[in-house]
Symmetry: C2
Subunit: 354 residues, 2 copies
């Protein structure tokens, strides 16, 4: 991607506070590495937009955003104003489906200077990726209610796993595992309980594994896998999971490393046919919005992932190294990291370190 064109959407709540810091870091590497990134800002995919227009996005959102190489996203959701399933399905989930961002990639890494809730773990011990299927599976819109308002009332929702959908996420995860020193892939399943779709998932993993003889494959049921994230987080390298299981594991992983506020994510269309989206794992956090105490590292690290994706790995690394440096120094930290700095203090410290 030459002179990458970036669509910037800050969204709701602390999304609006951390976005300027994400951009500050990007501008710093933009200059330093002469990348020629350009940024355009949009106010849709936010609850504010909904309040004004009665919908989360304009009708031409697809064509508008298709002109960009990537979307740099803050956070969306104001549950007091709008139920999450309206705001999220009207924005993020539309992007994931519309732009076929079928990979959700989330690093789980123990960083220096971040208080870790697990006993006896140190930076370097935990370093893996959760690769989440991002378009199908348990997140389907097929189903409904029968016998409403009676004692016989019930709701049904379908989980749908297609061969194409499963195989392409497995392929991505295996390619990633193959590229890493440990070459180890763990599949999240629940074939002992979810006895139709999950045995199918296992079957496709077995088939794909044959194409990657160098990669060591194992699988765990989601219940015990969640337990191992706490007990043996050093055991993992690449963890591949369905949409729902990946959602759970990619919050649980950062919780185990103390980095919920710090972790980044990418919703990626690997073929580059559509723009990919990069955003912090954390949400819009209405409870702390307005105080400028939100930790901007999730947003800044997401910018680093975006640069990797756009083909500027040195610039991505420069941002990540600056984050590590500032964390290790332990200055300019936000309250969640035990400091008393403001969102922009931490952002400026990282930009300066670049």
């Amino acid at each position: 991607f030459k002179n990458p064109q970036i669509a910037v959407i800050a969204g709701d709540g602390i999304g609006k506070e951390v976005m300027p810091e994400g951009l500050r870091a990007l501008e710093a590497v933009n200059k330093k590495f002469n990348i020629g990134m350009q940024f355009d800002h949009f106010d849709f995919a936010s609850c504010d937009y909904y309040l004004k227009h009665g919908k989360m996005m304009p009708d031409d959102w697809f064509d508008t955003l298709m002109q960009y190489d990537a979307i740099f996203f803050g956070a969306v959701g104001m549950p007091d104003i709008l139920p999450d399933h309206v705001s999220l399905w009207g924005s993020l989930i539309q992007f994931r489906r519309g732009f076929d961002q079928y990979v959700n990639l989330r690093p789980v890494r123990l960083l220096p200077g971040v208080p870790c809730p697990l006993a006896n773990r140190k930076p370097g011990d935990i370093d893996f990726f959760v690769v989440r299927e991002n378009t199908e599976g348990e997140y389907s819109s097929v189903g409904g209610k029968m016998f409403p308002d009676t004692d016989r009332e019930f709701v049904i929702q379908e989980s749908i796993f297609t061969r194409q959908g499963v195989d392409r996420i497995l392929k991505y995860a295996y390619d990633l595992a193959q590229s890493r020193p440990k070459k180890h892939l763990t599949s999240a399943t629940k074939s002992n309980g979810i006895a139709i779709t999950m045995p199918y998932w296992d079957e496709r993993v077995e088939t794909m594994a044959k194409q990657f003889p160098e990669v060591r494959t194992d699988k765990y049921h989601i219940d015990i896998l969640a337990a191992h994230f706490v007990m043996n987080p050093d055991r993992f390298d690449v963890v591949v999971a369905s949409n729902l299981f990946g959602d759970i594991l990619s919050d649980l992983g950062p919780a185990c490393t103390g980095t919920i506020a710090v972790a980044p994510s990418g919703s990626i269309n690997p073929e580059g046919k559509f723009p990919s989206l990069f955003e912090p794992v954390h949400g819009s956090a209405p409870d702390i919005y307005g105080k400028m105490i939100a930790n901007p590292i999730g947003q800044i690290w997401s910018g680093s992932m975006m640069l990797d994706h756009l083909g500027y790995p040195e610039a991505g690394l420069a941002i990540f190294t600056a984050i590590e440096k500032v964390l290790a120094e332990g200055k300019s930290l936000t309250p969640d990291l035990g400091g008393s700095a403001k969102t922009d203090d931490l952002g400026k410290a990282i930009a300066a370190a670049i």
Copy 2:
């Protein structure tokens, strides 16, 4: 229940090693409190039985077990011999549905002498229950495959939430919360992503909450809830969840307290129309079977829960107190607890403490 009749099923793997210790503790309180419990042993619901008979259970399993007041269960599954979805759906899942054991109850408690993977937590800090729906939800047998062996292949599985099924588990959980000092109920949801069944779950929680004005209710999406189990496990009192979410949380909770090998569970029919089942949370662990190093506390504590259910709370407490005492003394511990005792050493120590 006078002179309770107990069906004993040891099952597979370490189930066969820990069951005698569970019974040893039960026999001890049986004498001490003059309960008059009687035990009959069955070899079905095991993979051994399957190898001999080509099925997991005899055709008359239902009538046979209906004559008992409770089922004391070890563990089932030998994945090298039989896929888990065959052995489990042919046994445990049959019991849960056939005997309408719609409550799965699992305590999460930090015990003395058990190494805890979380930093800075001590016994007393963590003490809550996971109340899991145990008959419907995501564990449905409705669905199938289309276009097999082609590029268009896909599988579908339905999640099914009935008003009756949801309301009765919520009622049970609220009653439990109401009976506890903190009177706090947390609902596990995912209504921002699983946008048909989970908003329905939320709706039913809101409706039930009105009947329990003294109970403080909150809800978390399953991803961030899993994260809070690690970050803030002291925040919970009663956590109510669907079948799948409850499955995940009730392994994750014990993992956070270091008690996966120690935790008990009850699959309960609260009305007592059908026998309830009590078993350790851990599985058959084929990898350590045969070495007599399995920790029997999960089995023994399950016996304590069974006595509570049968109406002998002092006897239940006597077992639990003995477990705590032996753990606090730190003698006769199995290898998972840092000792070098055998399964039966630890079992005998607990029986002696009763």
